[in-house]
Symmetry: C7
Subunit: 103 residues, 7 copies
C-alpha cells in the first residue's frame, strides 16, 4: 500500500516549483514587514528549503531557477499549496509566484 | 458490444497523463502530512501506477515524463478525474498537476 | 433539400475528433469501474468507431492520432457532443478529452 | 445608400467560415439522428452551400478547408450566426465548429 | 485645443480595422435578410467606406486585408464601436468580425 | 521623499502606450461625432501629446508606433487610465485601443 | 527559524519586477496629478528603489528593463503587492504595470 512518511527532506519539487518554510508573521514589527490594510494580495515571508530542477522548455532544455535553498523570499499569501509537516507550515510555490528575495 | 473489464493493468494513460493510486489520508499523523485549515487547494498523496508516453510537441517529438511508476507524489486534491476500481481509489492526472515527488 | 440518412458508417470526424460508442454504465460491478461520489468530473467508458485524420499543424502537416478504431477508452462524461443513432448512444470527442486507453 | 439584395449565391464567407443550409430536424426518425436529452451541446445537421478561402496563417499562406460545397455536416446547434433568406434557415460557421461530415 | 471636425473622409482606421456604413435593416424583405428569432448573435449588413493598412505581424510585415472599400458585408450586430456622423450610422470593426461579403 | 511635479511634458509613456489629451465631447454637433444610444462601447476623441518607444518584441526589437504626436484619434471611452493635470483631462492608452486616426 | 529583518536595501525583485516607494497622494495640487472621478483604474505616483534583472526569455536571455532606480513612475493603483516597511508604503510591481515615467 502507498503509505508515505513525509519529512522535509523527502519533498522534491518538480519543474519550476519551490518548497518554502513559512515564517511566522507578526502583524507589527519595528523594521519588519507590515501587512497593509488593503484589499490587495498580501505578501508573506518564507525560506526556501527545496528547489525543483527548473521549468522544461519546448526544446527539452530547462530554465535554471533564479532562487536557491536558503533564500528568504516574499511571495503572495494566496499563491501555492499549503502543507503542514509536524508543527511547521510550508508552501509549494511556482517560482513565478515569488516576488522578491529578501536575504 | 463495448463491454470492458477494467483492472489497474488495463489502464494506459495517454500523452502527459499519469494514473495514481490514492493513499488513504489520515487527518493527523506524527511526522506525516497534515491538511492545513485554509481555503486554499489541499495536497493529496498517491503512488504512480502507470505513466503516459509524454506530451506530444508541435514537431511530433515528445516531452519525456519527469515521474515514473512507483513514485510517491503530492498533487492537488481537486485535480484530475477520480476512478474507483474494486475498493481502491485512483486518479488520472496531468503530470503538471503533480507538485512534488515524496519518495 | 438537405436530408440525411445517418448511420454509424456515414459519420467521418474532422481533424482530431473521434466518434465513440458509449458503453452502458453499471454503477457497481465487481472489478469494473465505479463512479466515485465526488463533485469532480466523472469518467465514462466507450469504444472508438471512427477517428479523424488528426489535428492540422500550422505548417500544414498533421499530428497522427494516438488512438485507433476498436480502442476502448476512458473519457470525461461532460466532454464532447452526444449523438443518438437508433437506440445507441454515441459521443463526438476531441482526442485530448480521452484520458486513457483501457483495452 | 448601401442597400443589398441578399440571395444564397451572393454570400461569400471570409477566411475559415462556411455557409450552411440548416436541415429540418425531426426529433425521432428511424435510422436518423436523435437529440439526446442532456444538458450538453446539441448536434445539428446541415449542407454546405459556400466555403471561405481558408484561414490565413501568420506567414501569409492559407490552411485549405477540409470541407467542400455539398458536404452534409454535423455541427453544434449553438455555434455560429443564424441567417434567414426567404423561408430557408442558414448558419455561418467557423470550420472548427463542424464536428463531422455525414455524407 | 483638440477640436475635431469629423466627416467620413477623415476617419482612417488603424491596423486590421474597417469603417462600415450600416445599412438600414428592414425586419422582413422579400429576398432580403431576415433576423431569425433566436438568442444567438444577430447579423447586420453594411458597406465598407474605409479599410486599415492590415494587421501588423511580429516580423513587422502586414497581413493584407481581405476586404476593400465598397464591399457589402455581413457582421455581428454586437461587434465593434458604433459611431454616428450627422444622421448616418457607422461602425468600426475588426476585420475578423466580418462574417461574409455579400456583394 | 518622492514628490513629483507633474506637467504634460514630464510624462513619458512606456512601450506601446500613448498619452492623449481628451477633447471635450458635445453630445450633438453638426458634422461632428455623435454618441449613439446603444449599450456598446462609446467612442471618444483626443489628441496625442506623447508616444512611447513601441512594443518590445521577443527578439529585443521594437514594433514602431503607427501614430504620432499631434494625431487626432478615436478610442474607446472605457479604455486606459484617466489622468487630470490642472484643469485638463488626459488618458494613457495602449496603441491597440486606438480605433482610428481622424486628422 | 526563518526570521527576517526587512529593510529597503534587502529587497531584491525577481525577473521583471520593480520595487516602488509610493508617493503620498494629495487629492488636489496645483500642477500636480488629480485623480479623476471615474470608475476607471486610478493612477498612482511612486519612485523606483529597486529593479529586477529583467524578464527571462525562452532562449535564456533577458529583456533589459526600461526603467531604472530613481525613476518616478505612474502606475495603476490596483496593480501589484503593497508592502509597508516601518512607516513607509511600497509596492512590488511588474514592469508592464508601469504606465509612464514622469521624471
Amino acid at each position: 500500500m502507498a503509505t508515505v512518511s513525509l519529512s522535509v527532506s523527502t519533498v522534491k519539487p518538480l519543474a519550476d516549483r519551490v518548497f518554502v518554510k513559512i515564517s511566522p508573521q507578526e502583524e507589527k514589527t519595528a523594521g519588519g514587514i507590515l501587512l497593509p490594510d488593503t484589499a490587495k494580495e498580501k505578501p508573506q515571508v518564507g525560506e526556501i528549503v527545496a528547489v525543483g530542477p527548473g521549468k522544461r522548455n519546448d526544446d527539452g532544455s530547462r530554465t535554471e531557477p533564479e532562487v536557491k535553498v536558503g533564500d528568504k523570499v516574499l511571495y503572495s499569501k494566496y499563491a501555492g499549496t499549503d502543507i503542514k509537516l509536524g508543527n511547521e507550515d510550508y508552501v509549494l510555490l511556482s517560482e513565478k509566484d515569488i516576488l522578491a528575495v529578501v536575504n
